[in-house]
């Protein structure tokens, strides 16, 4: 399976083009890094690949087919700020059920405590919440994970803890991962291949 964006172009409203004829492909089981200066369109690209935004030109294809318009999205996006990605009026167990994820061993390996399930999002720290967001994204139907600065707000130990689980899961389930980060040392540690996004052109290293 392959996630492929071909000749995509995007801009907000009538602003400058953020992406112009941009190509990227992510294969199954591959850990791909995406870097670039701030404001170059990394997060926009992440949203396009996960189907949150539609490109104005070009296409995003999953296995040479266009994106499924309903049902579970096989491309899951995890954001930088977990507190903005959960419903503040839901308890944690309900937030996890949102994706149908029911994998106790995954919860354990992410260090999610049974007693946290009955808590509300504002009763957990950022690191604890992000574990839930990762667990929610890792379901059986997830083929690709887009991690947009997923661990930027976390301390080094929690960062290592979460990434070890994600890499292991990717290996076992042959899932592709796009690591969006400006932390070069993290990218070097995690990725097989790196794409550098700058000024509407993709350079490759």
């Amino acid at each position: 399976m392959q996630l492929r964006a071909e000749n995509i172009s995007f801009r907000y409203g009538k602003g400058d083009w953020i992406l112009k004829d941009f190509n990227i492909e992510l294969n199954q089981g591959e850990i791909l890094g995406l870097t670039g200066p701030s404001g170059c369109g990394k997060s926009t690209l992440a949203k396009i690949l996960a189907g949150y935004e539609r490109p104005l030109g070009g296409s995003v294809e999953l296995d040479s087919r266009s994106f499924p318009s309903k049902g579970f999205n096989p491309v899951q996006l995890v954001f930088q700020h977990p507190e903005k990605a959960v419903n503040p009026r839901w308890q944690m167990h309900r937030i996890l059920r949102e994706s149908g994820c029911q994998d106790d061993s995954l919860y354990r390996s992410l260090g999610i405590e049974e007693s946290w399930m009955k808590r509300w999002p504002n009763e957990l720290s950022g690191g604890e919440l992000q574990r839930f967001c990762v667990a929610r994204a890792l379901t059986r139907q997830t083929r690709f994970l887009i991690a947009d600065e997923m661990t930027t707000m976390l301390d080094a130990i929690t960062q290592a803890q979460i990434w070890h689980v994600v890499l292991e899961y990717a290996k076992q389930n042959n899932m592709g991962v796009l690591v969006v980060s400006h932390e070069n040392r993290l990218i070097e540690r995690l990725c097989d291949r790196v794409v550098c996004l700058r000024d509407n052109a993709a350079g490759r290293t």
Partner: protein
């Protein structure tokens, strides 16, 4: 310049009805910062870093109970003194550029925190110091680039001639060049004789600029070490948590530790707070809370440290 001794902070919370409970969030915390020094306060979210800053500035919410002592230039920081000093002698560089007033021109914002003297002159000279165009004076925050807005933020924090500067997470999510620039400003301020407290969760940032690192875990200092001790596989470090933090960096071992930082639901357990995650834990660690002690020019709160 600043000395904090055995600081404890707890919050009184209402549970059901009129039942109250006491939530201990910082316990027996001690740090000190000298003039010309950058002390980085490092810890994960929920370890009490920001609360310490709020305690020093005297801006904790009303239901907070504070014990222990805080001395600024040898004098006790009482609420009246804090009110007089904050914004003048003691200042805060906030986390995000959203703290600039969106409806006020940059020049005016800087001038209104200039304090005594001629505000316009002070503002002009601080603009030169941080290479802000004269044009920026009449611009609003949304018209500046991210890097310039950040410089404006630093400018308005230090224009009043503060001696103690608290920077609360000034760099996350920023481009490396802006990170370097912001940290460079902090170094300059310290070299001019200010005391700087840099609060961050990112130990890499802390190491690149600080003189000493205070490591927080669950509301207390587990170790205070000179930056030079962070090297190799962490042999020079004193506390197992500090060592784990160092070895978890992607450029080092990228080695995680099982479990999570205990949270403050009700009262904290007896004994060392890191004990459940520690590989060297003993019976002593389980039942008695270690005192902070001095080892090899650093401080550590661990029974087994040598």
């Amino acid at each position: 310049m600043l000395k904090v001794n055995n600081l404890s902070i707890s919050f009184i919370q209402y549970q059901a009805g009129l039942k109250q409970r006491n939530l201990q969030v910082i316990s027996n915390l001690s740090i000190k910062i000298d003039a010309g020094e950058i002390l980085a306060v490092v810890g994960s979210s929920g370890s009490g870093k920001s609360l310490l800053a709020h305690a020093i500035l005297g801006i904790l919410p009303k239901n907070a109970m504070v014990s222990g002592s805080m001395l600024y230039k040898g004098a006790e920081l009482t609420p009246e003194i804090q009110k007089k000093l904050r914004g003048a002698d003691i200042t805060l560089i906030p986390q995000s550029v959203n703290f600039l007033d969106p409806l006020m021109k940059i020049g005016e914002q800087v001038r209104c925190s200039a304090g005594s003297g001629n505000p316009r002159e002070k503002q002009k000279s601080i603009f030169r110091r941080y290479s802000l165009d004269e044009k920026a004076e009449n611009q609003y925050p949304f018209q500046l680039s991210g890097g310039m807005a950040r410089r404006a933020l630093v400018a308005s924090a230090v224009v009043g001639g503060a001696r103690l500067i608290i920077a609360d997470e000034p760099t996350p999510g920023l481009h490396p060049q802006i990170v370097r620039e912001t940290l460079g400003h902090l170094r300059e301020l310290a070299d001019d004789g200010c005391a700087v407290m840099l609060i961050t969760h990112d130990i890499g940032t802390a190491l690149s600029v600080a003189d000493n690192i205070a490591v927080f875990y669950s509301g207390t200092t587990v170790e205070i070490a000179p930056t030079a001790d962070f090297k190799g596989s962490g042999e020079a470090l004193r506390h197992p948590y500090t060592r784990a933090l160092w070895n978890a960096l992607p450029q080092n071992e990228f080695q995680p530790v099982e479990g999570f930082q205990p949270s403050h639901s009700g009262h904290l357990k007896e004994g060392c707070l890191f004990e459940p995650r520690c590989s060297q834990s003993s019976q002593e660690c389980k039942c008695s809370t270690p005192e902070i002690r001095e080892i090899r020019k650093g401080k550590v709160r661990c029974h087994n440290a040598t």
